[in-house]
């Protein structure tokens, strides 16, 4: 075969280029860096690559590639630590892992969840590298077949996952997703620049909310606050049950799931413009749909970890296809990677694939070796690191608060980041309390901008095609690919609606009166109405149509929910309120007092700057809340502050300055 005749010799040459001590050393450094950066929520491939970029210039190309690819390849591996152990989405690629990974950690099976995740990542990564090898030679026409209508359909396919993740009451899931979509429209419209729920007087809002902050606020803050109220370790038993061997066995038992989810990851990665943030949700939705016994999902089902984790590493290999063939980055980290390639003197594009196939293939090999190294290291470490879940959580929490606040600040380097984090965190706490699907909200938010611009753009082009002739138009909007995806969407919604209720099992949630859930729903409706009226006032049609339509649909659903709730009896699952029963209700510490500690850190940061605030916060928290001795408090504080300074120093990141810094110039890190 022609394909093999071209590919195999180049693959062989690439092996000899990469299997040199120096190149392997750089690959290893890249892997270590990628693992270290990936562990921290909010920092991902972009932060890591930016760190090495100044050194890339003048490097031997293969070494430079090994360094960069090693780094990119393992970020979705190590971000699993935060997702599983702490319930914090480590990066946008592992948001779905939280859903089942964290409950597993709570059960004391963190090591099992981690190793299953890592071996899935490894498998996905290898599959991605294999696909990249051959696909890169033939992918061009296939990728060009994905136009705007096709991309819009994939975005809708992602949205259709809301059906299966909606939870006990489908209508609540729809309202949560609609709210997510509307929150996603905040800021300047991408097309015409009209402002939506924003004003030039508050510049922070013009760019909208960033995904990092919404992810942390919706998932991390509610979970951390809830755990902190319990005053025990993450693992309920305080110990570790199953170990890493079990995780590997679990993966082997679900090998087919892993293969299919890896394939999903590769495919979504290959299509430029979609970005990586949908892929784990599509994989998770698919996993749930294809599992017979659904009652375990959301409570610690190992398949819920294997699915998304297989897909997110596979995505990196897939994502390199358009990056290398067209020179168009599929994600932020790919964009930085392209910049690095340019520094090495290579220009991605058809030329590179054709004339530098051996160099191109060193990327493939680096990807494969990095995945093996990264996953191997992580599996080896998983039993040890999983012990984190057996430490008293009150000692871990202040550290997490500090890391989250720091991570959030990296998104816009403004105090607004901290305020936004707090606001979204409160929303997350209420969504959790009243059992509105947080994944649904997040999917809505993630896909909002894509859904809007793809539908606007596809609509505009379709209009022009239809003016040329009916057939031209139909050919464009109803291509075979569109029809196939449409069928998938319909199937996904039908399966989802039928089976969503099985996911949480048949137990009834705690309820406690109608008032609190109704007030929360009315607040949501209030926001939606304001946002809808605000959108109606927009002059430019292209910027107006999406929020007006989505807002109207969500409002109608919300009102229907309201009417049903008013009619339903008090004990109905509509009125789920986790403050009135279950773990949260019996927690020794109150919700607001616990959240207050976090607010304390943020407010103090605004006044004194981050490092001073964190120091004071740590000592007070450890002394008062955790009842730790003075000596230990000081030691723990010093370790934490030293660590965060080291991290920020290495990555060249700044800390939030406060009011104090407006008046006094202080040396770093107090700035």
């Amino acid at each position: 075969m022609d394909l093999f005749a071209t590919a195999l010799p180049a693959l062989g040459e690439a092996v000899s280029l990469i299997l040199q001590p120096e190149q392997l050393m750089f690959l290893f450094v890249g892997v270590l860096l990628g693992l270290s950066v990936g562990v921290f929520p909010g920092l991902g491939g972009i932060a890591g690559l930016s760190l090495v970029l100044p050194f890339i210039f003048g490097m031997d190309p293969v070494s430079g590639l090994a360094l960069m690819v090693g780094l990119i390849a393992v970020v979705p591996t190590s971000d699993t630590f935060a997702s599983v152990l702490l319930g914090i989405p480590g990066s946008t690629a592992s948001q779905a892992t939280v859903l089942d990974g964290f409950p597993l950690a709570k059960k004391g099976e963190a090591a099992r969840a981690l190793s299953a995740a890592f071996i899935s990542s490894l498998f996905g990564g290898l599959l991605g590298a294999t696909v990249l090898t051959f696909f890169i030679l033939i992918a061009r026409p296939l990728i060009l077949a994905f136009g705007l209508p096709e991309m819009l359909m994939i975005t809708i396919l992602g949205l259709s996952m809301v059906a299966i993740l909606a939870g006990r009451i489908p209508l609540k899931g729809v309202v949560a997703a609609g709210l997510g979509l509307m929150v996603g429209t905040i800021g300047e419209a991408a097309a015409g620049g009209s402002l939506r729920m924003a004003t030039y007087d508050i510049p922070y809002l013009i760019d909208g909310l960033s995904l990092v902050i919404v992810g942390l606020g919706i998932f991390a803050i509610p979970e951390i606050v809830s755990l902190l109220r319990q005053d025990r370790a993450i693992s309920k038993s305080g110990g570790l049950g199953k170990g890493w061997i079990d995780g590997v066995r679990d993966w082997w038992r679900n090998i087919w799931l892993s293969i299919r989810c890896s394939a999903i990851g590769v495919m979504v990665g290959v299509i430029p413009g979609l970005g990586g943030s949908v892929v784990d949700w599509i994989a998770y939705g698919f996993t749930v749909q294809s599992t017979k016994e659904k009652s375990g999902f959301g409570k610690g089902e190992i398949r819920g970890v294997i699915g998304p984790e297989s897909s997110n590493n596979a995505k990196e290999g897939g994502g390199l296809v358009p990056t290398l063939i067209f020179g168009i980055p599929g994600s932020g980290s790919m964009a930085v990677f392209l910049g690095g390639l340019a520094l090495l003197g290579y220009d991605p594009g058809p030329h590179m694939v054709r004339h530098n196939l051996d160099i191109t293939y060193t990327i493939v090999w680096s990807l494969a070796i990095a995945n093996v190294l990264g996953a191997g290291l992580c599996i080896a470490l998983s039993n040890q690191i999983a012990k984190l879940t057996t430490i008293r959580f009150t000692l871990v929490a202040p550290f997490l608060f500090m890391v989250i606040a720091f991570a959030a600040f990296q998104s816009r380097q403004s105090l607004g980041d901290l305020a936004a984090l707090m606001a979204v965190g409160v929303l997350g706490i209420f969504l959790r309390r009243f059992e509105f699907s947080r994944p649904a909200f997040l999917i809505g938010f993630v896909l909002s901008a894509q859904a809007e611009s793809f539908s606007n753009m596809a609509n505009q082009i379709a209009g022009a095609r239809f003016r040329q002739g009916l057939m031209d138009g139909l050919e464009y909007v109803a291509s075979p690919i569109v029809l196939v995806i449409l069928a998938l969407i319909i199937i996904s919604i039908i399966i989802g609606v039928r089976q969503a209720k099985h996911i949480l099992g048949s137990d009834t949630p705690p309820t406690g009166g109608k008032r609190a859930p109704l007030i929360f729903l009315i607040c949501i409706l209030g926001y939606l109405s304001v946002a809808w009226i605000d959108a109606l006032g927009i002059h430019r049609m292209g910027d107006k149509i999406f929020p007006v339509t989505v807002g109207a649909v969500t409002l109608v659903c919300g009102l229907a929910l309201l009417i049903q709730m008013i009619r339903a009896p008090e004990k109905h699952a509509f009125f789920a309120d986790f403050e009135r029963g279950g773990e949260d209700a019996s927690a020794p510490h109150g919700l607001w007092a616990t959240l207050g500690w976090f607010a304390f850190l943020l407010v103090l940061s605004c006044l004194l700057g981050f490092i001073l605030a964190a120091t004071i916060f740590f000592i007070t928290f450890l002394r008062i809340r955790a009842n730790v001795s003075w000596l230990r408090s000081v030691i723990l504080t010093a370790i934490a502050i030293g660590f965060i300074c080291f991290l920020a120093g290495t990555l060249g990141r700044d800390f939030p300055p406060g009011l104090l810094q407006e008046f006094v110039r202080l040396p770093w890190p107090l700035t």
Partner: protein, 365 residues
């Protein structure tokens, strides 16, 4: 605010050292940055042309500046680059450890009176101005009807992917409109690369790319017969005339096409406005600034460093892929370029504002 005074550890890999920060405003006549870290701030994210440009210059600057400081690129994206520029406006680091890179996307909002703009170009001291060209191209079937003038293109429905009406794409939209072509921009794409992809997929039937991107990605398409160049935006000579782009001497300029096209005039309001915004957007598209507080020796030191970079024997070869063959100006030339790039006559501004409102329903209030 004094966030920028961070000094960064240099040690490679996991080892790194932090600490020490010296806001000291050096009055010494000798300009030496030994042991210091220069922050090269750009108001854009890590992806995109400006990041590429800044990362290209950063290591070269490190070698060329006295004392070989570490040069790190820092990103302050937001609000279409106005956020970072507003931030820079407030900075007063005078010792040369802070430089700022702006682009056409920072210049246009300033020129159009965008309400978010709180910065003033005349406060800043320019030390480098990088020019860039632009090439418009067509699919082969339409190119058959283009014979140096746009007279036969009037009845075609053109579509192209655009980043936004007030962005650099303004120059292309106005040029095509002046030629009497009916071009509908589909707004909302994230980079010019996405626009090219739309062209390759056949969804768009006209496009333009800046010179480096054109050389890199469109020239292969031209060789395969998938695209045909239509015109360049041209280049400015020393007297301010638009002449052929030295990178593409065989492709006619928009000015030449306009002269041959019946519907188009190279005088009058439209032409003046186009030329003003072309000059603001392309011949001095990216500039490096020092804050207004920087003393003369710092400015001179940077000027000398950039001159040194441009004099490197391997510069042309290195620059070709990232910067194209476009002029890299320092000293007087950079000053002139800055002046041209940051002033448009009020009539040109008004023309553009009216046109944006009528054609695209876009207002800057």
């Amino acid at each position: 605010m004094s966030v920028f005074k961070t000094t960064r550890g240099v040690a490679f890999g996991l080892a790194a050292a932090a600490a020490l920060a010296t806001p000291a405003i050096s009055n010494a006549a000798e300009f030496n940055l030994e042991g210091k870290t220069v922050e090269f701030v750009i108001p854009f994210s890590e992806s995109g042309g400006s990041a590429r440009w800044a990362n290209f210059y950063a290591p070269l600057l490190s070698e060329a500046l006295p004392g070989n400081p570490t040069v790190v690129v820092k990103y302050r994206p937001g609000a279409g680059s106005t956020k970072g520029a507003n931030w820079f406006q407030e900075q007063d680091t005078a010792d040369g450890t802070l430089i700022f890179g702006s682009s056409g996307s920072t210049q246009f909002p300033y020129l159009l009176g965008d309400p978010r703009v709180r910065y003033e170009y005349s406060d800043w001291q320019v030390v480098l101005a990088s020019g860039v060209g632009g090439v418009s191209y067509l699919p082969p079937d339409i190119a058959k009807r283009f014979d140096g003038d746009a007279d036969d293109l009037g009845d075609i429905d053109f579509i192209w992917g655009s980043q936004g009406a007030t962005r650099l794409d303004l120059v292309a939209n106005l040029a095509w409109k002046m030629l009497g072509m009916n071009v509908v921009p589909v707004f909302g794409i994230e980079g010019r690369g996405d626009g090219r992809l739309m062209f390759e997929r056949g969804e768009a039937n006209i496009d333009y790319q800046t010179s480096p991107a054109y050389l890199r990605s469109v020239v292969p398409m031209v060789e395969e017969g998938l695209a045909v160049p239509m015109m360049t935006w041209g280049s400015l000579d020393d007297d301010g005339n638009i002449v052929r782009d030295p990178t593409f001497p065989d492709i006619p300029t928009f000015k030449e096409v306009c002269e041959k096209t019946a519907a188009c005039e190279t005088k009058g309001d439209a032409w003046d406005a186009w030329k003003a915004f072309f000059i603001a957007g392309f011949p001095a598209q990216k500039m490096v600034f020092l804050p207004k507080t920087a003393p003369k020796e710092v400015v001179d030191g940077y000027e000398a460093a950039f001159k040194k970079i441009h004099a490197r024997p391997d510069f042309a070869q290195m620059a070709e892929k990232t910067l194209g063959k476009d002029p890299q100006m320092t000293g007087k030339a950079a000053d002139n370029a800055k002046k041209l790039a940051t002033t448009v006559p009020p009539s040109a501004k008004q023309f553009v504002l009216d046109w944006l409102k009528t054609d695209y329903d876009v207002t800057l209030k």
